[in-house]
Symmetry: C2
Subunit: 124 residues, 2 copies
Amino acid sequence: MHKSLHILADLYDCRGDEKYLTKVSRVKHKVLQMVKRAGFKIVASRFHKFPPGSNVTDGGITGVIVVSESHLAIHTWPEKGFVNFDVFFCSYSRDNSEKTRKIFKEFSSLYKPQKVRRKEVWRD
Amino acid sequence: MHKSLHILADLYDCRGDEKYLTKVSRVKHKVLQMVKRAGFKIVASRFHKFPPGSNVTDGGITGVIVVSESHLAIHTWPEKGFVNFDVFFCSYSRDNSEKTRKIFKEFSSLYKPQKVRRKEVWRD
């Protein structure tokens, strides 16, 4: 059994298409596509759109995607151009760490953050 | 703005009620209760039951619970008595780190693991 990689990332000052911070359909389509292309079967996905906060910007979104014994989670704050992103793929039957890193890279490239804090945690 | 606490835990050799490893309704009820009691509003929850693997035991479950800009994720492997648990509460408007630790403790007490690997990650 391989160790499983969980990447937790905070993306700051995102300068990609703003719709990735605010539009559920846009983010969902892209992320599901990445996960499927990597060869994973999606068990379920759930996205939620928040109303605008006390400022004038459009509200953020939260999404979770469930893959067998694995998950992705996205939380966006358009008013700060900020995103939390989690991707965790279980490596029980095969080593999925490179796929995990690839999806992180693809996801990040949508948002074009000017700064990233990324943590890799190895789990059983 | 406070830092937000994300706890990632691997629970080994779980000796609590076996139903927490295999029964969606049992786990869902308990976890939603903990989250509500802590004062959080649940946006969505999604659970999935896996069929038994190549051995004779009942299949595991995967569940995600979405709370505003926060999430919990659970993956169980009954055949190994093993559980991955994630709890992340955004502390944007108030410091939720103690609630995060409390929910981890409550969750863990259901499973009675003989060994825990727990990582605390502070995020923006």
